[in-house]
Amino acid sequence: MKNLLNLMRFDLITAVCSAGSRPTAVYLLIAAAYLILVFLGVPLLALLLFVAAMLMLAPLQGIAEKNNFNKLYGILPVPMKQIIQARFLLIFVSQILCELTVFLLGGLSELLNLYRMDISDSFLVSGMMKHLLMYSVGMFVFFLLSVSYLQMMLWIHGQANEMKIAVYALAGILAAALVIWLLMHLHILPTFTELYKMLPKTSGGRFALYAVLHLICAGVCAACCAHTVKIVAPREL
């Protein structure tokens, strides 16, 4: 466990101090300013937070390849398996932290009654405040699965294939969205409105559903990690 924490810290320092971190910080500052100005920017801020976390972590593999980290991995007194596991753990923890931040901000907004202010009524996303929890869980699911998949592909196929991987991932997401939309349109699958109605009515029921969703996502992330370990760890450095 100590090794995993050390490796997460290692990756975090690499990511936070990277060249891309300054634009990401500016991006977050703008988001924070937006929140203060509009008061009700929580749903959008949530999106910005998840995207910022992705922007921060996605280039890690590229930085590692560019800086000959394979050699470093070869001399550090830790097994390759743990280096990979720590990367996926960092991704999972960062997404959980984003989600918690959104809940906290949402709760604060609710507590201070900010979303009921007039300025918010005209704002398109204000309606999302009512379903902030569901909205955040949705983003958590989408971003965790996307980043885990990308990380797995980048470890296995290398940064040189980054563009190809990104195009395939985007094509996959679009294809899945299209199929789901079609199935919903043909009433084979329930529509979003119907799905929403099917959600448990009690808070306890919803929390249980969200907990199951989190567990499934954690499982998918762990599966991506295990597959990456299986392919990458036996490779020569």
């Binding site: 690499t14 990277s18 000959n68 394979n70 550090l76 007194p77 020569e236």
Partner: protein, 294 residues
């Protein structure tokens, strides 16, 4: 004498290259120069020691531990310097220390900063902006700060200016002063080996051509020159890298055959560079003979 590193019959095959029965050992308290031309197998051997390359057969023992089974424990006590920087170039020395420190149980922050100061490295500048010599010194500072007992350097002096090379060799000589630590450094700059190494292992075509003390190598080969007609056929077969010219020939000869050399021929001491050149000539000659036979 305790061996800090022992390699026995190491074999590793790639599609275009193979290490064949590589065996040598390095005693504690000494520096070994690991020499050979480019592609002779130096880096593959080093990668095998570090378990970065999976060996086909043989055994590598470091500090008496198995290089495959005990790789994590070995790496705690090992300092490694490669020919190029393996650290994040956008980070400063301080940030790199923060990254690496937690992995080593014996990391000494005081020692690290003292080495950084001694080597004249700026602590807040991105290491990517360092010169090649400074990057090399940074990797050495890292290796020296976790009390490594064995330092392995892969082509550390290539691309360095003479002053930086001289400084590096001084650091290595100082490192083994307590006679408890050892250095294995690969290079094709044989002047560096002549200057600091106690032991030499010479690789050619994936095989160990020589391993032993520098003095043993000094007395093992001589250069042989003279007129072709003065060279008896029996001795001609024992020559290494034989090359005939219009006015005579030159070759290298194992000193065990010195008694057979006629007075008309001249012998000279061979240095490491010359030994490498004649070994390469011999291999080239053997290859040509095989092609002709086919």
């Amino acid at each position: 004498m305790e061996n800090i590193l022992e390699i026995k019959e190491l074999n590793k095959t790639y599609s275009d290259f193979a290490l064949k029965d590589v065996s040598f050992s390095l005693p504690r308290g000494y520096i070994m120069g690991f020499v050979g031309e480019n592609g002779s197998g130096k880096t593959t051997t080093i990668r095998s020691i570090l378990n970065m390359a999976k060996i086909d057969s043989g055994r590598i023992s470091v500090f008496g531990l198995d290089s495959v089974k005990d790789t994590v424990a070995i790496k705690q006590r090992l300092g490694v310097v490669f020919d190029s920087l393996y650290l994040a170039e956008h980070l400063s020395v301080k940030q790199i220390e923060k990254q690496l420190m937690p992995f080593y149980s014996e990391w000494d922050t005081k020692e690290f900063h003292s080495k950084i100061k001694q080597f004249g490295l700026p602590e807040d500048k991105a290491v990517g902006e360092f010169s090649k010599g400074m990057k090399m010194k940074l990797m050495i500072a890292v290796a020296l700060s976790h009390n490594a007992e064995l330092m392995i350097l892969d082509e550390p002096t290539s691309g360095l200016d003479p002053v930086a090379r001289d400084e590096l060799l001084d650091i290595l000589a100082e490192y083994i002063e307590d006679e408890k630590r050892s250095v294995l450094f690969s290079t094709h700059i044989t002047a560096d080996v002549e200057r600091v190494a106690d032991y030499i292992t010479m690789l050619h075509g994936g095989r160990v051509w020589f391993t032993g003390t520098k003095e043993a190598l000094d007395s093992k080969y001589v250069l042989l020159k003279g007129a072709e007609e003065d060279l008896p056929d029996s001795l001609r077969e024992k020559c290494i890298g034989y090359h005939a010219y219009r006015n005579g020939f030159d070759a290298m000869l194992d000193t065990q055959y010195l008694d057979e050399v006629p007075d008309a021929l001249v012998t000279e001491k061979a240095n490491i560079d010359e030994i490498l050149v004649y070994i390469a000539k011999e291999a080239h000659h053997e290859k040509s003979s095989e092609s002709d036979a086919v």
